[in-house]
């Protein structure tokens, strides 16, 4: 099909650019590129559930952190596993946690799921803060491996794989149709034989596991983690902003938002250092996007801009009870 060719060309261009980048830029910018790739991948992982299935996860940092801590603990002293052997373990731990949280709460309103994921992430933060084996507030050190190119290529591989899986699974398969159908009208999806609870749970686990893989690479890359740096709420905040800014439920959205916002955050950091002002910017960005750009940046370039009814157009205030179709 025609659209497949266009996508293939984009893929080839991206891979070529990614392969050439280490030759073109110095280590400093390579580090920034590595970070941008990580955030593009994390944004994509959040978008799997948030964008395609319509369930908002305010605790995605929990899974990022689980991946990071699993790798740190397994590479650490008593066990000393090699890096790549720790990734499957992180995936397993994360998948189990996601099933435990998702199975009961994904059946209910999205609000319960949002609270559950948020509480899980905050609970893990507190847990890691008070436990000995996680190193408490001090955190954990990993065996240092100072090879920027290794991390750049590993991160590139993970990011490209994430987007390929999303492309295949959510944009070009029956599974994607099921996910989008349950997002738009759950009772109707059920009436078509779709086991919505199962499909939601599968999507959630995939989303969580993806974040865990990036967490594992991140831990090895920065060689030092603590509860705030991998479980912190700011990590989830950033993913949410990136996806909303780029465009919910699209393939390009998280890439645009992830890379764009990360580069902006680095520029702010270079100019003003670590500032609380950045948190305010994140918050303001979410509010503004929700109010004025509900389809994100990707929505601006959509083939045929859908009748996007912004909130202010709605000031007339329609009767309630519409827009209620979905879950209860």
């Amino acid at each position: 099909m025609k659209s497949h060719w266009a996508d293939l060309i984009i893929l080839v261009v991206v891979v070529v650019v990614l392969a050439l980048l280490p030759v073109l830029v110095n280590n400093y910018w390579l580090r920034i590129a590595t970070g941008a790739l990580m955030w593009a991948g994390l944004a994509c992982s959040w978008n799997m559930l948030g964008g395609y299935a319509g369930y908002i996860n305010f605790g995605q940092s929990a899974f990022f952190g689980l991946g990071a801590y699993t790798t740190a603990l397994l590479m650490g002293d008593p066990i000393n596993l090699p890096f790549f052997a720790t990734i499957p373990a992180g995936i397993a731990v994360t998948a189990i946690c996601a099933i435990i949280i998702g199975a009961p709460t994904l059946r209910l309103r999205g609000a319960y799921f949002a609270i559950a994921t948020w509480a899980f992430a905050e609970a893990l933060t507190q847990f890691a803060n008070v436990m000995d084996f996680t190193g408490g507030i001090g955190g954990l050190n990993l065996p240092p491996f100072l090879n920027e190119r290794f991390f750049y290529f590993t991160m590139s591989g993970a990011a490209v794989l994430t987007y390929l899986v999303t492309w295949a699974l959510f944009e070009h398969s029956r599974f994607g149709l099921k996910v989008k159908a349950l997002r738009d009208h759950e009772p109707a999806a059920e009436a078509m034989g779709i086991n919505t609870s199962l499909v939601k749970l599968q999507t959630f686990v995939l989303s969580a596991v993806t974040a865990a893989v990036f967490g594992a690479i991140f831990a090895y890359w920065v060689t030092f983690i603590n509860p705030k740096s991998v479980f912190g709420g700011d990590i989830t905040d950033q993913m949410v902003v990136m996806v909303l800014l780029g465009g919910l439920g699209s393939l390009r959205g998280p890439a645009i938002g992830g890379i764009g916002l990360f580069v902006v955050s680095r520029l702010i950091w270079m100019r003003w250092g670590d500032t609380a002002f950045y948190i305010a910017i994140l918050g303001a960005a979410i509010v503004l996007v929700v109010l004025f750009l509900p389809n994100g940046i990707a929505g601006l370039f959509a083939r045929r801009p859908a009748k996007s009814v912004t909130v202010l157009d709605k000031a007339a205030g329609k009767l309630a009870g519409t827009g209620e179709g979905g879950r209860n």
Partner: protein, 250 residues
Amino acid sequence: MNTATTSSPPSQSSDPILTVRDLFRQFGGIKAADGVNLEVGRCEIAGLIGPNGSGKSTLFSLVAGTVKPDSGQIRFDGREIAGMNAHRIARLGLARTFQIPAMFDNMTVTENLLAAAAQGHWHGAKDRAAETLSLLKLDQVAQNRASDLSGGQQKLLEFGRVVMRQASLILLDEVTAGVHPNIRKIILDAIARLRERGISFFIIEHDMEMVRNVCDRIIVMDAGRVVTSGAFEDIVRDSEVMQTYLGRPQ
């Protein structure tokens, strides 16, 4: 247009596709289903009529599994399905439309049809979607978002999704209410064609003209019970039923 057949009433058949026995369901104090008993025969087009609030749509939801019954039996195609999850009932070959069109708003018209086939009969789904589009004359809007369609087109699309399910029994909830006569004709023709393929229909309808033209048999509900059933002419002749339960003398 008149698709009623002269064959013996299918409800007499030994093996109806749908049998409902002593079905009860309360919401708060309201008895939405107060001991419903009825049958829909194979290849039959059964019409369900009754005043607003008589429990017609609830009955559909009970049969389709969206609402769980308090007690009673529902047999579909030889299986007991009362209390089963909606998606499992759907997989057994039951399809339904909703009273308010249940669009997948952010998906295209084509994707809406494909989503209906995503569980189960996926093989050849793209060809069947194209077929359905032309059958329902939706080709022009195939790539539009479902939310951009007019109300009548949404009814058509929802009907198209039901067709894509390849079901053996189709429940239609006021599928022609408020749609343009041209669109109604498209739907009626499609129902006739599908029935020839052996599909049974159970239809909630307010339009007596449509009921007369399409249904083999009418079931009348009031206050959560089946009051009577029979051929359209017999029901109409019973003017008491018409006045009491339909409130409009013919």
